[in-house]
Point group: C2
Chain length 432, copies 2
């Protein structure tokens, strides 16, 4: 049995690094703002390295700053890992990613306490930049490990918001550009288990306790640039404008309407415009577009139709819908930049079964309805590990499904349930 | 006769301070980025003070940094001024405001050259922050002079974009917080003439050379804050979102549609959102709204109806229009902050006639169709001076009506025509 109190205490102690907004009165009712490769991220990495070394692990860092802590088993060979991430959204919570890493460490501590000797090596991974919030490719470092991105491409990703920092410059700055090759070939994984909050409402609203995750939905990210022409808001009539902000507003609304029609998701989380003056119609707007569906084909279909529609909408022609009333103006141009994608993913049946068995074992008689197979709405590093190693995930409920929000919350009971299931799943897999 | 070449040369020489984007190959095909109270603004102010002193003027600076340069006439009493501004938009041009101040100086130089003794004092004013681009109240310093704003309110306006600078802190920083009271009572104006580019297409497209401006249209500026809730773009279905960016997109589009319906203008030039991450639905969006009409009543009517509609649109209810397809979601709240207004303004008939007579004089036989009475689409410091002194403006054509854009352009001929008309109007008024 894992030590639930120790897990809770440890988890909140590292949340001192990168504290965000307070949202409630309790001592842990404070969000997180620990962007990847920031100074706060360095502090928690240093803690991770020190802690896992003190637990008897060999610690290795690869060229993406991924940290692999390995606890030797009876025989060598690719380890069975618990992996997740300690970076957060700019206004994130204390559980997304952080819980998975801490649960992995709690698993190691429990194995040490009980003097468990595993057949094969086991370990914990802290993946770099899972969030994609600062450098806009999510799961980019497990992606490099899996061969989905070249090291060069990943090193050169530039931070959002107009800054100049790249992933490489920041890895160097905080001293986490490691010597190990970031590759599944040079550094293979035996199996990957990831405990994570669900980040959605399904478990909570259906009374579920543990989700045995069978895969993840597909998504694509784009940066859309709308180019018009700066002009005076008071002297330029609508006919003579190329209003990039008005066009962007139409495109965002249209992407939402079209996603509704296709039964999938479209979201804009970043928007910047130039020049940014109350009395100048903006000639330049750039925004992010995140589209998702359980099916790759629907993501592609939405992408195709938006590519066509955006052009026509921005031209200002009356094509009904968002342009029904706004057919005046000289039109704008639209450019699409593809940032990243994560195709629909299926996890490994052996791993899913280890999760289910371990969850049932823990929950006892009521387990039947409390353990649910489910598909992740979010991407996770497990999406990439699953390309080269048996993988599954464990979901636990989070309050009201809230995530990417300071008020994200997972109860001590659910955190403990997750870590207990993780321990059971890893030991079961080790014996397979 | 003014010296057209000297005017052109002087004007472009001061554009070295605050150079913006290059847009063409010519030596002066470079825009301006001289935000009010910036270091570049200090440089051009220093030049203004030095130059007007060397022309024999008394120079006084008031508590808003407005600079009054006075050339003594035969008798004392409130001077007849040429006034405009030398601050620019972040991506502005070389003529908006700058031409008016330079033309005023050229008028003084010509008077000196020809040894003209005016009946009353004459002079030139450089008004502070006409643009409202950095501190979002346009014409704020002529507004304080006119008693439309208290000094305290104006001093405390904070810069856009999240910075902390206020007008007072920046006046102090560049050394232009002057000892003179900013008030029409303490520092009266005899008459105010302002030469300005039209910033619209009417003169150019109708073959007009000089606009005798009879007033300015009304406008109001607001800052709209939309509050929703941060959430994950991949795990939160549309029903469970309070998407502030989607709501803002609808509000911007709706304001455009409604303005179209009312035959007036609505524009959004600034938009910021939080937290700003591709996979987080923004819980907070703030944008500027600039609404304009020739009639105060229409501005008020649009304001009223948008106040009502914004609330209902953001609530997510199906009220047709922009919400026709987007009726899902938990809704957002909307807050309005009033920033500034400039009611519809009528200039003084005596001054308008001085402009017309002087323009006709200069243009000779063709003058009839080339001198046009017109109303300004933009606000100008003349709007405020007209509250306490006879005022009119002189418009000259600018290419394609383009303004608030680096490629803003007024030909040497039109700049010269404007300055010549300004000289004639000031001398005529002096004799009245
Ligand atoms: N779990 C999580 O928030 N992952 C980031 C990638 C995504 O946006 O789905
Ligand atoms: N002329 C000019 O651009 N004035 C600024 C105030 C306005 O937006 O009309």
């Amino acid at each position: 049995k894992i030590n639930r109190e120790r897990l809770w205490k440890d988890l909140h102690s590292t949340c001192e690094w990168g504290k965000g907004e307070r949202w409630g009165d309790g001592p842990t009712d404070i969000g997180m703002s620990r962007l990847t490769l920031s100074d706060a991220d360095k502090q928690v990495r240093d803690w991770f390295v020190e802690t896992t070394k003190s637990l008897g692990c060999d610690v290795n860092i690869d060229a993406m700053g991924n940290i692999f802590a390995v606890r030797p088993g009876k025989r060598g060979g690719p380890p069975t890992y618990a992996g997740s991430h300690m970076d957060t959204q700019p206004t994130g919570g204390r559980y997304d990613g952080i819980l998975g890493v801490h649960a992995g460490i709690e698993v190691l501590k429990t194995m040490n306490d009980l003097d468990i000797k595993t057949e094969y090596d086991t370990g914990v991974i802290n993946w770099t930049n899972e969030e994609g919030a600062r450098f806009p490719i999510s799961m980019v470092s497990s992606g490099v490990w899996a061969g989905a991105y070249t090291l060069e491409k990943a090193h050169n990703v530039v931070e959002v918001g107009g800054g100049k920092a790249t992933q490489k410059s920041e890895l160097e700055k905080i001293g986490y550009l490691g010597p190990l090759e970031a590759s599944y070939k040079a550094n293979p994984i035996g199996a990957h288990f990831e405990l994570h909050i669900e980040q959605g409402p399904i478990l909570e609203s259906s009374g579920g306790k543990i989700g045995a995750v069978d895969g993840a939905q597909a998504y694509k990210w784009f940066t859309i640039t709308v180019k018009g022409k700066d002009c005076h808001t008071g002297t330029t009539d609508f006919e003579n404008r190329s209003d990039a902000m008005l066009a962007a507003a139409k495109l965002i609304l249209h992407s939402h309407n079209k996603a509704t029609e296709y039964g999938c998701l479209a979201s804009t989380g970043i928007l910047t415009l130039r020049p940014g003056s109350t009395n100048t119609v903006p000639g330049w707007v750039q925004f992010s577009l995140d589209i998702r569906s359980k099916e790759d084909a629907i993501v592609s279909k939405l992408e195709e139709s938006l590519k066509e529609d955006f052009q026509r909408i921005a031209s200002g022609k009356d094509i009904g819908g968002v342009n029904a009333q706004g057919t005046k103006g000289r039109g704008c141009s639209v450019e699409w930049q593809f940032d990243t994608d994560s195709p629909a993913t299926k996890f490994h049946e052996d791993c899913i079964k280890c999760v289910e068995a371990s969850a049932r074992d823990m929950l006892g008689t009521n387990a039947g309805s409390q353990v649910k197979r489910m598909t992740s709405g979010a991407g996770h590093d497990s999406v990439y590990t699953s390309r080269h190693a048996p993988t599954s995930m464990i979901f636990v409920p989070c309050r009201e499904g809230i995530s990417h929000n300071p008020a994200e919350y997972c109860s001590p009971e659910d955190c403990g349930n997750g870590a207990q299931t993780l321990l059971g799943a890893m030991l079961r897999y080790d014996r397979l």
